[in-house]
Amino acid sequence: MAKDRTLLGTGLRLGCAAVALASALAGTLISGPAFAKDDLVIGAIQFPGTFHPSIDAMATKNYILDMARRPFTTFDQDWKLICMLCTELPSLEKGTAVEVTRPDGTRAIDATFTIQPGATWGNGNPITTKDVLFTWEVGKHPQSGITNSQMFAKDIVGVTAVDDKTFTIHWDKFRCSYDSINDFLLLPEHLERPVFEADPSQYRTRTLYDTDRTNPGLYFGPYRITRVESGAYVVLEQNPTWWGEKPSFKRIVVRTIENTSAMEANLLSGEVDFVAGEVGLSIEQAIAFEKRNGKRFNVVYKPGLFFEHIDLKLDNPILADVRVRRALLMAIDRDAISRQLFEGKQPVAHGQVNPLDRYYSDDFPKYPFDPAAAVKMLEEAGWKELRGGIRHDASGRRLSLEFQSTAGNRTRELVQQVLQAQWQKAGIEVRINNQPARVLFGSTMRERQFPGMAMFAWLSAPENIPRTILHSTMIPTPENGFSGQNYVGFSNPEADKLIDDLEVTCKEDEARPLWTRLQQIYAEQLPSLPLYFRSDSYIMPLWLEGVRPTGHQYASSLWVEQWRSKQ
């Protein structure tokens, strides 16, 4: 990586070498904010690996790239689908989306998008449909190394350019989500084609996003990346070719500080202005920080689409009984956990649809903390005899379950031990056996090897139809190549039909009853135990305004041009 020292110039107002030396020797405070209010320094706990938009999804990378480039469509802070790089969402009513029948007889849909007229790459080249076609070509190429190829290789069967700015997406089948191409992340054809064509199988390592990260032609957002110090920080400066609202900060620095106590020290000393929820501190750390320094900072908690829950393996003979599943939920005091560990900032979840979602329904059974009812239900289910504090059934089976989660995740380990203690009181023995995240998600869950319970979170987009999680065809098996995320093994014909129907029921008033019924089935059957919706916590300086957390998987930095300093 070439070191670009010219860019430093005079703009970075840092204590010069002599001052730093003197202050170190004198043992005085490393002086105030490293940047004036023209600059915003954001703390992140990770450093991005690659900077390629479609290789290896990673929160920090997305957070940074969202300031330097934009998706065609995305969900906004009110969880509505909007156009960013396109001019208008296609729609059946307006005729920009058309239902078609493919030659093989399948019912499908074509959707037409138009690129923003002023959209220009950072080197002045206009963004055209050539870029769209190239992106699709790279995306569906099996050797390109793009991480998620499903949309490019399977869902989209064709892309045609109408003219320089307008193109049509041909979807493989009819779907209500025809208007969303959130993950169709544009690549610059004029820069990347030679690299890609030289050797597609080497594209993932030779892409300019990793070999020439500060090339202005790679970006088209309000900012572009002008300096990268691997492992330490990324500097973004205003992009002169940006066509939208002019951003306020001249320069944004995303600084990586892996150690959370160091992060706090940097916030307090002013070396870091802002810690973003998407890439920052855990909620407990934020709460503890707020308690001590709440007056100096504006701490915002945004509950979101992180659905923290416990998957119950329904093949387990103990868990196959719905009464046991309900008793498990009633035996734990989720309210107390939310209050005591999270100061009530993480609302208790009663189902997997977030109350902020427009299809949320309140009309389903809930299971508040009720140890007496839990015990009664367990006894009904045959777990009557207490031996050494643990329930046994008539055949002498012990009410004992294995409880897995991601090792090293402190919050989960805390919650786990609380839950274990509460279940113990109801006579349920729970053995904690955690695995590193890569093993838990890479093989244990994927191949359904977990024996009892597994706690983790789903992060989804708003209005996400839970096909992969609840549809019976999505139970991973060796036959389907362990495809799908219905790890619990939930199989309910009514739920299957509701999910199938929802995907093709595009009108809100027609979809609503289906959504309600689906939530009722989930709550009645409890294939997993809902715990709470995780919150992102933003620690902002009092002078910063315009930051609006989204609460879903798309980052708040997509609206970076609205951030400004109060003075």
């Binding site: 503890a288 001590r292 005591q340 560990l341 090792a407 031990q417 609380v418 203690a421 093993v439």
Partner: protein
Amino acid sequence: MSAGRRFLSHPVSVLSLIVLVLLGAAALAAPLVEGWLGVDANAVSLFNRFGPPSAENWLGTDELGRDVLVRLLYGGRVSLFVGIAAALASAVIGTIVGLIAGFYGGRLDDFLMRLTDGVIALPLLPLLIVLAAVDLGKLGLPAGLAQSDQVSLYRIIVIVSLAGWTTVARLVRGAALSVRQREFVLAATALGAGNARLMLVHILPNVASPIVVATTLSIGNIILLESVLSFLGLGIQPPLPSWGNMLTNAQELIWSAPLLAIYPGLLIFVTVIAFNFVGDGLQDALDPRSGPQRR
């Protein structure tokens, strides 16, 4: 002056021994202390997080409302057990290798000493990290065993002993080489004593002192190593407490509860330094010629 007398003439070593005995006794008595104070090391109390010291919780409570003192004692059990077990295992491996090399000499000696040199040349800590991260399931261990609660305990003992036997091996080999030529050994050989008998009855007792000293000193090092690995999240796995992994959590809490980061570290420090002093005193007592110099 007898060895015991000589040891007693080192006040620091004697004090260290007393500290170690007290620490060991306290750790062994953890369940009694638990009962006596009326607390439970694993009882989570959400309403008593980061509690201050009180009549019930002498050192306060941790982030889950568990009693810090009792957890420290249980952690001490684990840390001391790992230190002593791994030091003994290293001593056994080292003694066997050293005896064989020193007794048989020749090619076997050359090979074993090259191996020892090779192991010494390894970057210890990074390799231990790799070893500690190895998935035992992939090694073909049955899932039940590979995932049991205790596995992290035994794993760390095994990998530390695999790396820690070299000092004893060299010591024993050197001693065995010199003892082999001594008259009583030659006499025993002439009387037809078997090799095994020679090694065990005639040579081993003569190399016992350096082994004892080296093993005592290595306990301290191993406790340090265990704490580092546990701290990095690769040693003893929670909920089993060890002084090292108690510090892992404390690191994140140094702003709100710095004391949680002080206690376990202090105990590691005291224990390790005590073992080192005892080892130093033993060396002086058992091998007066070498004086207090030590590598």
